[in-house]
């Protein structure tokens, strides 16, 4: 069975870490990740860039609405995610609109990825 582990933290606090503190945390994590990778248990690991870099596409209306910032509602739940490789935000939005047309309702929050480790586990 595959699982996703979703990471939550107070972004203000993480952004207040010094570079050294941040690097120390990442180093601690990568030790655990390396072991998991050797055991073949680790799938992709992603560190998202801050929510200030986020854009949200509300696809519960036609045409969908592009909003700056992260997804802020609490009445909807996180049900899944995509990782796409695009040259620009406009291209990601185009993909999101296409996906949204296939499945209207709710929203997509678009977040640039800062760190991507593909992991070792086979899908």
């Amino acid at each position: 069975m595959q699982y996703a582990i979703l990471c939550y933290h107070d972004e203000n606090v993480v952004c207040a870490w010094s570079k050294e503190e941040d690097e120390a945390v990442m180093a601690n994590l990568s030790r655990v990740q390396e072991r998991l990778a050797k055991e073949g248990k680790l799938g992709p690991v992603v560190r998202l860039l801050p929510t200030t870099a986020a854009t949200t596409l509300r696809k519960d209306r036609e045409p969908p609405l592009v909003i700056d910032g992260p997804f802020a509602e609490t009445k909807e739940q996180l049900l899944g995610f995509y990782v796409v490789d695009c040259a620009s935000l406009e291209e990601v939005l185009q993909i999101a609109r296409e996906l949204g047309a296939a499945n209207p309702g709710g929203a997509y929050e678009i977040r640039p990825i800062g760190v991507f480790n593909p992991g070792s586990a086979r899908a």
């Binding site: 606090v13 010094s18 910032g69």
Partner: protein, 431 residues
């Protein structure tokens, strides 16, 4: 992290919001600051025992407010002292009385707090010092060290700045849309100054000064979270990130400046670049161009070039042209000339900067760039004069050292390609 070291970042991240709210209550910077200080002391006592409160800022606001009211009463001797347990021990109070509050509720408070630090009457250095003291919570000693002045001098500077701010009577009502955007612009300019204060430091002072860059970026992100749809704030954040991404590549072991074109691009911080590129991408979608967007777009073109020769100088020339229209200044034209030298050659660049000679006669980069263009044209005698003038005007030893290298090259055989890059010093710094 050690057992209580988690507290520091929590206090730091809650500070702006908490001090901003306390300033609204007490309408006095000193009282607000002391109230927050007191709340932090109590947090250091309470949190290791009880764990962090669910909403640190709300906890600190409430504890700080009560502590300050207590102090005010004590000073006035009007009211009998309240029972200690009624006012101070909030280890359990936050669950019942302190609701989770959204940073956005404090949007105008935080903006006001930042704005009082950039009162137009305050000289730039006082604005930055005040912001570091009030908003960032750096100690006077830390700020003094960053500015290379004595603790006493910095203490005086901050005291004077506070007195001026108190007289300025910044209104506490919610600002109108126009006021809000004016405040945002003033705050953005102050954050840019703060960043540059760190960015222009020489290699030897990098440690304490680079922290100023980090802090400017942190405050920019904070501002952007409060005003997520402001393209100029996105762009300013982007600009700072893209510049800061090059921090590790900007100086050699001797502390000499390494120009943009000669930097080891492997040392550029790709995570900061990714964030910067994402933000400028977001900003330009609004189709409301502004000076920060143009500057960030220029920085983005440099960041996207894997090798110096991949740089799209034609586009950079066009963007500087736009910046000249939005924000005409001889310095912008000087920067544009660097791009023009790449696209149309040093002669065109030289012609472009000649008319600036009067205005920029006392400006280091003007003479540095002029020397480089002249050198490229083989006019060595004139180049030497320009470089000597630049050295005389250098702001830091690193700048002077760099020009000296140019002079050394000038003394050697002319290779034709000596270094077209002195001119990029201006670009390296400003982009």
């Amino acid at each position: 992290m050690s057992e209580v070291s988690w507290i520091d970042p929590v206090l730091t991240s809650a500070r702006a919001q908490a001090v901003a709210a306390l300033l609204r209550y007490f309408r006095d910077l000193d009282v607000a600051e002391e109230a927050f200080q007191e709340a932090c002391l109590r947090a250091l006592k309470s949190w290791p025992k009880n764990g962090p409160p669910r909403d640190a800022a709300a906890w600190l606001i409430m504890v700080g407010k009560n502590a300050a009211i207590d102090t005010v009463r004590r000073q006035r001797r009007e009211a009998p002292l309240p029972q200690e347990e009624l006012i101070s021990d909030l280890s359990d109070a936050e669950a019942s009385t302190v609701q989770r509050i959204d940073e956005a509720d404090y949007r105008d408070d935080i903006l006001r707090l930042l704005f009082v630090c950039c009162h137009p009457e305050l000289p730039a250095t006082q604005q930055i010092a005040l912001a570091l003291r009030i908003v960032s919570g750096l100690s006077t000693r830390q700020i003094a060290r960053a500015f290379l002045v004595s603790d006493d001098a910095m203490e005086q500077r901050i005291t004077r700045a506070k007195a001026r701010v108190a007289k300025a009577n910044v209104p506490f009502e919610a600002p109108s849309a126009v006021d809000r955007s004016e405040r945002l612009a003033a705050v953005a300019a102050m954050l840019y100054l703060l960043f540059n204060e760190g960015y222009t430091a020489g290699a030897s002072e990098q440690g304490s000064r680079l922290a100023l860059c980090d802090e400017a970026i942190r405050l920019c992100r904070l501002l952007l979270r409060l005003f997520p749809a402001e393209p100029e704030i996105m762009a300013l954040t982007s600009l700072l990130l893209l510049q800061h991404a090059r921090a590790r590549a900007r100086f050699d072991k001797e502390g000499s400046v390494i120009l943009l074109e000669e930097q080891d691009r492997q040392l550029w911080d790709q995570k900061l670049i990714a964030e910067g590129l994402a933000l400028i991408d977001k900003a330009v979608r609004h189709r409301r161009p502004g000076p920060y967007q143009v500057q960030a777009a220029i920085a983005a073109l440099h960041a996207r070039a894997h090798r110096p020769q991949d740089t799209d100088w034609g586009e950079i020339d066009l963007l500087y042209g736009t910046l000249e229209r939005l924000q005409p200044s001889p310095i912008v034209t000087l920067n544009r000339a660097v791009a023009v030298a790449k696209v149309r050659g040093p002669e065109a660049a030289l012609a472009m900067i000649e008319p600036l000679a009067g205005k920029l006669d006392r400006y280091f980069y003007f003479h540095g760039a002029k020397g480089a263009f002249l050198l490229e044209l083989g006019r060595r005698q004139e180049a030497r004069v320009a470089f000597n003038r630049a050295i005389a005007l250098a702001n830091t030893p690193a700048e002077a050292a760099h020009i000296r290298q140019q002079l050394d090259r000038l003394a050697g055989p002319l290779t034709g390609k000596t270094s077209a890059t002195q001119a990029d010093r201006a670009a390296a710094k400003k982009l």
